[in-house]
């Protein structure tokens, strides 16, 4: 058990006994994971944050139902996922995206256009992944979780997580090649232009 897991187990024990501060610490310890899970499901950061807040309160209410303190993270993940699915039913992914876009102030909209385009590309690429793989990707890149812990949270073996991550990397690299390597594309464009000129020259 790593240091973080050990700390989590201790905090769960205190929280079950009614220690609110311990539970607040527990929230801090697992909030990034929870945000990652909700975001992977909903696709909108603001809605994900709302869901996580609700999930933490629900976890506090139902902490006595947790059998194994070491399984707090997967248990919390399940609560977050269920609430995320509920939220998604109430507000579909596309609607949440549109709302988020409108929430950007007009003054900064122009400056943020390029960043927004990159963000849109990444979100589109993530949307092509199935939900479980998207969860694995989010937990790996946002909370830097090892495959074993990701597997525990989403019910897969570490090898299966690695396989999904590998496949996801392939797809993401393909979809985001323009963002990842803009120089290569510029070179390719230049080559095409040169080729065009040479052909014209040949014709003359």
């Amino acid at each position: 058990m790593d240091e973080r897991a050990a700390e989590s187990v201790g905090l769960v024990g205190r929280a079950v006994a009614g220690d609110r501060r311990a539970f607040a610490q527990l929230i801090s310890l697992h909030e990034r994971q929870a945000l990652g899970v909700a975001y992977a499901t909903i696709g909108c950061a603001a809605s994900a944050a709302d869901v996580v807040q609700e999930a933490m309160l629900r976890a506090w209410q139902r902490l006595s139902e947790l059998d194994d303190a070491a399984r707090f993270a997967p248990w919390l993940c399940r609560i977050v996922r269920n609430l995320s699915i509920d939220a998604l039913r109430r507000k579909p992914r596309a609607e949440a995206d549109a709302e988020r876009l409108h929430s950007v102030p007009a003054a900064v909209r122009d400056d943020a256009l390029e960043q927004d385009e990159t963000r849109r590309q990444i979100n589109d690429a993530l949307a092509e992944l199935d939900e479980t793989t998207r969860l694995a990707v989010t937990l790996r890149y946002y909370d830097n979780l090892p495959s074993k812990q990701i597997g525990e949270m989403i019910g897969l073996s570490p090898a299966a997580v690695d396989m999904r991550l590998s496949r996801a990397r392939g797809l993401l690299k393909a979809r985001l090649s323009r963002t990842l390597n803009p120089n290569e594309l510029e070179t390719a464009d230049t080559v095409q232009c040169s080729g065009g000129s040479a052909t014209s020259g040949g014709a003359i």
Partner: protein
């Protein structure tokens, strides 16, 4: 390792950076909100884990209380507006205080204490306020409500004729208004 593998590794690193930056930009701004909400929602005496889940027994009174608060808020807001006299020289939201003492008003109570007895002069007052939407809160575990905070400052200025000093008294007041939200 051939050149192709090396290029792939570079691309993996770039992808990692890109994804990490993306998730951080999207989600980091929300880190900390859950703990804040938890602290607000759970009172110090609340020992929730031992309580049964589901609809709380405290919820039966919540709906009428919220409704009453909403009604009070509906009536209070127009009243506050109407007591503020229109004056083009004043900034928006800042007005002469209609409840400040009028020096010409003989009905004003006069202190019987000779030590402090005086007639304040050049009395002016103003009321400033701002109402802020603080988002959704939970009155208990299952009852959502919208929380508005109305922060008000009543400032009274006058001159003490005994030593010609200018006195300013500001009374801050916070009012929380809860408006019920539809239950999810």
């Amino acid at each position: 390792m051939n050149e192709r593998d090396s290029q792939s590794d570079v691309l993996d690193d770039d992808l990692s950076h890109l994804m990490r930056d993306h998730f951080s930009a999207e989600l980091d701004q929300h880190v900390g909100r859950a703990a804040e909400r938890f602290s607000m929602a759970i009172s110090p005496v609340d020992v929730a884990p031992k309580r049964a889940s589901g609809f709380s027994t405290a919820a039966w009174w919540a709906a009428p209380v919220i409704a009453a608060a909403a009604v009070v808020a509906m009536f209070a807001a127009p009243q506050l507006r109407t007591v503020v006299p229109t004056n083009s020289n004043l900034n928006n939201g800042v007005a002469l205080n209609p409840i400040a003492p009028n020096v010409n008003d003989s009905s004003l109570p006069v202190s019987t204490n000779r030590e402090v007895e005086f007639e304040p002069q050049d009395v002016t007052g103003r009321v400033t306020w701002a109402t802020r939407d603080e988002g959704q809160v939970w009155l208990d575990d299952e009852t959502p409500a919208r929380k508005f905070r109305k922060r008000q400052y009543e400032t009274l200025q006058y001159t003490d004729p005994r030593d010609s000093s200018r006195i300013e008294v500001t009374v801050p007041r916070d009012e929380i208004i809860l408006v019920s939200s539809p239950r999810i």
